[in-house]
């Protein structure tokens, strides 16, 4: 096969550049453990109201024994329930979200919080909010004619003003 010397150099350059990109991705994935939300956990979306975790009175913000925070949400047309939550800054927060109806997606602009919410599967994502403030939590996948209206509010407060709470009670809602 005939390859011009200049083109040969270009090919090496291209391979080197791709190699650098891949090295960066593998480094963050394997050494820093940064992964997109992958979590294969089936759930029956038709009977969330009967589930131990996603029944209506179980939704909201919970403090775990180890001090981290867990948020249990249901995505349903058209909102993320509970519609308003409060969270502390600078603390790892794990969201667990299930859809009660169709496909949704969620992200909180300017943060790392985002995942698809697929009916039949629990979505789980852990993140830390660096800064206090009022954040909208938006649905980002078309879910019906009311998709534009599907959003909820997240208020992130400074760590110092975050109340200590017992693990038995949902807090921050």
């Amino acid at each position: 096969m005939h390859i011009h010397p200049l083109e040969k150099r270009w090919i090496y350059l291209v391979l080197a550049v791709v190699g650098i990109f891949l090295a960066a991705i593998f480094y963050t994935a394997l050494a820093r453990n940064i992964h997109p939300p992958s979590h294969i956990e089936p759930i029956d979306s038709a009977s969330l109201h009967l589930s131990a975790e996603f029944a209506e009175d179980k939704l909201g913000v919970w403090t775990q024994p180890d001090g981290t925070i867990r948020v249990t949400l249901v995505a349903a047309r058209y909102g993320f329930y509970p519609r308003e939550i409060r969270l502390p800054a600078g603390t790892p927060v794990t969201f667990r979200i299930a859809s009660a109806d169709v496909l949704h997606g969620v992200h909180i602009p300017m943060t790392n919080m985002g995942t698809m919410v697929v009916p039949g599967y629990v979505s789980e994502i852990t993140t830390t909010f660096p800064k206090p403030g009022e954040y909208p939590m938006l649905c980002n996948e078309y879910c019906g004619l009311g998709h534009d209206h599907m959003w909820s509010k997240v208020t992130v407060v400074a760590k110092e003003s975050w109340p200590e709470a017992s693990a038995a009670q949902p807090i921050g809602r």
Binding site: M1, H2, I3, H4, E7, W10, I11, V14, L15, V18, F21, L22, I25, F26, T28, A29, I34, H35, P36, P37, S38, H39, I40, E41, P42, D44, S45, D101, V102, L103, G105, H107, P109, M110, N112, G114, T115, M116, V117, V118, P119, G120, Y121, V122, E124, E134, P136, L138, C139, N140, E141, Y142, C143, G144, L145, G146, H147, D148, H149, W151
Partner: protein, 542 residues
Amino acid sequence: MLTIEIRKLALSHFAVAFGAFGLAALMGFYQVLARSDLIPALQSPGVYFASVSTHGVLMAYVLTTFFIMGFGYVTAVSSLKTPLWNPRWAWIGFWTSAVGTGLAALPLLLGRASVLYTFYPPVQAHALFYIGAALLVVGSWFWAVIMIVMHGQWKKAHPGEPVPLPMFATTANAILWLWTSAGVASEVVFQLIPWSMGLKDTVDPGLARTLFAWTLHPIVYFWLIPAYIALYSFVPKAAGGKLFSDELGRVAFVMLLVLSLPIGFHHLYMDPQQGAGFKLSHGTLTFLVAVPTLLTAFTITASVELAGRINGGTGLFGWIGALPWRNSMVLAGILAAAMLVLGGFGGLVNASYAMNAMVHNTAWVAGHFHLIFGGTTVILYMATTYYLWPRLTGKPLCSSTLPLIQLWSWFWGFVILTTAWHILGLLGQPRRISTVTYHSPLTFAWDPYILTMVVGGTVLMVSAGLFVYILAKSYRQPETGPIQADEIEYAEPLEPVTRVHPLLNGFSVWNIALAVLMLANFGYPIAQFFLIKTFGSVAWGY
């Protein structure tokens, strides 16, 4: 010279393609206007989502499939210099796809299929929509088979000779399309049609998304390969030069075929139903598929540079000015390359395993694919059509300046539209909304960009109208006698190729490689839905 039969076949395909395109462009304009809230009377989610669903289907499935089929027939007969194999099949394919398009259009326009062009269940459309979409695909399979058979027959009749590059690429695309469409076809046939007709109560949205992701990435290469054929085969010649390397062109098309298929999970990075390992594997291959595009960038730039120097250009950049910018093919090639560079950077962000989270399902994504698909790909469809039109209709174009104005405005329209769209995405605006209703201060930052999009959309609508106008006007001219050149001419390689390695002349080994890669990357991810207990979803309206 093309026979009357081929001309009629190609023109029929192009008529459907560009009719759909004109209608969809009007809808695109309505959409940017509706989202801006400039005219409150336009606010209606029902109309808006019927419109985006139709716009998406017409642009992504109808314009592309019909253009690719029509262009493929022309490429096959003109580059191989043989008659079309089985014209009857070609017409059956055309009518199957056309009827499918019509069947799908009914519920779309009536608002009974407002499920967007990705039709993710469990939101359910009218059964006719899925049946129509399936027929559109089935019709295109006739085309794919004809391309593969013609490639094989020519090789048999010319042992040891290299298949002409444009036909090699077209065959690669036909094979790519058969592999690609298998994913969505299984979703539609085994899941959606039975479910929408009431034969099945539930579908598994996780499996449906996995099958759709099988198709969703390589389909963009199905759309792109004809544009690359124009870059390899028409642009160097139009610029007054030769193709720098025929063999590396073949390498690029083979890599596009093999590497674009096992990577669809970059559309599922944010999904819960697939594991991190498979996502990382697809993500790695996604970066490798940048290689053939970068090879193409080199080959085409080198070809065009040689042409510029032949035309008297000197110095490091002087050759650029010496190119025939007033040739519509050359102009489109340059503008397409500019948009490809911009869009390529965005693509690296989307493809990144971790960074994707920042832009996933935001307005950034719609900005990205309008730039690279609506921009890069379609501008080359347009230039190719300007080149073919006189050879198909037997009449010259009605003007030599109007096409240039049209191509420039298509470029600037997309630069304006998609720059604003990308910024909106970084500012957190979700895609697929019909208007902004969130009561959050964040949305104030969006306003200027939403207005900028209206400007871009206006330019584009005018440009799209001009394109359709030029074709219609030229077609309706009175007969003007034969035009000067009616052969279709492909760029010659700088180094004549008399023989190439069999691996670069056929696809059997590549099909096996592809089967192995697909099994490794999709085997378990699909099988898992049958191995673990999952729960289906009932149908939901919208």
